[in-house]
């Protein structure tokens, strides 16, 4: 499969006087399920935003398969195979489930801007192919019956699945999940774990932020723990559980999931 590594080296992101991400380094290997954890406000989402181009981080380097991607805008990061989901779901809430997933096929489509004015046989075929792919993905995520529903009106758990379906439609090499279990009940969380395994079986690397420690311990192979933007520990889930600095960080804050 695609053997690209995501390597962060000394990444720092400041907002005015506040240092949100402080000299962070980590190394995600192909096929891994990697976790980034830490108490609330530790800077995890900001780190993700730096990777995916939403924030420009001033210092450090972010390489993907050897290529420096630190200063690329979001759409160029996606073109290189890195796709993310959001902590607060960012779906196109007034549109149907199928159209939302179809948005994921945007970069997979060969159509040019003029196909918006005149169709050609090739563009019509492209449309058919992409809609077919959309429905295949809906099947994978057990969402076919919701295809025509307006996404904003659906229950939270289903919206989360649609968001993952959309991310998968882009055919990512690295999937970045920002708190995918937030707001899910136990059953839905179990289904999520299943889904993450199925995704990894397809050869996709997964990098996730999560507060649900059961999920983290079960699913991840390697973790980096950060607090106040700085890395305080890294290792396998077993090692992290016993790490005194980590325990201190979580007990010191009000986190109760640990």
């Amino acid at each position: 499969m695609d053997g690209r590594d995501l390597i962060l080296t000394n990444v720092t992101k400041r907002f005015g006087g506040l240092v949100a991400v402080d000299d962070l380094s980590l190394h995600v290997r192909p096929g891994q399920i990697y976790g980034l954890i830490g108490p609330n406000g530790a800077g995890k989402t900001t780190a993700f935003n730096c990777i995916t181009g939403i924030h420009a981080c001033e210092e450090g380097s972010i390489t993907w398969g050897g290529e420096e991607i630190r200063l690329l805008p979001p759409h160029k990061i996606v073109q290189r195979g890195i796709v993310r989901t959001f902590q607060t779901i960012r779906l196109f809430s007034q549109m149907s489930v199928a159209e939302n997933v179809m948005s994921g096929r945007h970069i997979k489509s060969m159509q040019k801007w003029w196909h918006g004015i005149i169709h050609t046989p090739a563009s019509k075929r492209d449309e058919k192919d992409n809609w077919r792919a959309v429905f295949d993905i809906l099947e994978f995520f057990d969402l076919e019956k919701y295809a025509a529903y307006i996404v904003g009106a659906l229950p939270y758990g289903i919206q989360r699945r649609v968001e993952m379906a959309r991310a998968m439609a882009i055919d990512p090499t690295l999937l970045i999940l920002d708190e995918p279990a937030a707001g899910l009940n136990d059953n839905e969380t179990l289904a999520l774990i299943e889904t993450i395994y199925r995704i990894r079986e397809r050869g996709i690397t997964v990098l996730l932020i999560e507060h649900d420690m059961d999920l983290v311990m079960e699913v991840t192979e390697y973790l980096t723990v950060i607090n106040f933007g700085k890395k305080i520990a890294q290792g396998t889930p077993e090692e992290i559980q016993k790490n005194p600095a980590v325990i201190e960080a979580y007990l010191g804050s009000e986190d109760d999931d640990f």
């Binding site: 796709v83 779906l91 549109m95 945007h106 801007w113 918006g116 005149i118 169709h119 809609w131």
Partner: protein
Amino acid sequence: MMKKLQQLGYPLFFIVMALLPVGLNDRWLAIATTFIIFTIVALSQDVVLGKAGMFNMGQALFFGMGAYTSAILNAHFGWPLLATLPVAILIPSIFGILLAGPIIHLRGDYLLVATIGFNIVFVQVLENNLGGLTGGPNGIFGLQMLTIPGLAFLQNFTPYYIALIALLLTLLIFRNLETSKAGRALHYLREDDLAAGSIGINTRVYKIFSFGLGAGIAGMAGTVYANQYSAVSPEAFNFIQSVLFFTIVLVGGSSVPGIILGVFVMFILPEIFREFATWRYFIFGFAMIFAMILRPRGLWPAKFGRIPKAFLEKG
């Protein structure tokens, strides 16, 4: 029932519009022709405002650019009007792309004011008879109108049918747009710009595309308009006209029926109530306020769910 209506809607509309001139006197024929032309401009406005969600209040600029391009080429350089059409589409499109580039990142209200600014500059350039070409405040007269060879007996109706053909073309483009990657991209970036970027859409390129496309369609409408009156003048393209097109899209709603409805309400109704000349716009203003309070998304808002039927049947 709704589906049947939708399927019949367009053919029915065109049949009615094709037969309409027979029952109209001269004044109402002219109004109907302008109605069609304004519908085309409003549709072009919808590409930028309704679909791509950008606050553009300067569409009359591109409308006028197309009209004046045709007028200048025809009156000063002797080009037949039909030949001016491609140029009248191309030049506004290029300007649409060039002007959009530097302002597209601006926050909504600022973009609005910038487009008004472009419109005002344009009109003043026209009025000042730049290079002796634009004809000053009175505009350019005496254009050679388009004729359909062999149908000379329909001479009176020619401007109307030319407009109708242009509308048909516009609606075909719209249908193609809605079932294409580019068209969907506009919807996505309107709904959530950040999310659209995060799934790989180069939002900047598509925003500029929408400006260019809207400008081109408006330019085409401009030529048809110049043809109808065989003249062009600056005041037909001032920013007050832009406000009209802007309002049509928002009051009518960002859908084809909505826009046709919007043009009817904002243009035909005042004509019907011409007798109440002094009162009509006064009442109108109130109507606009109430329309927004009661139907903030327009009389006939856009609907999504444009999923190809073939796939829906399976699920």
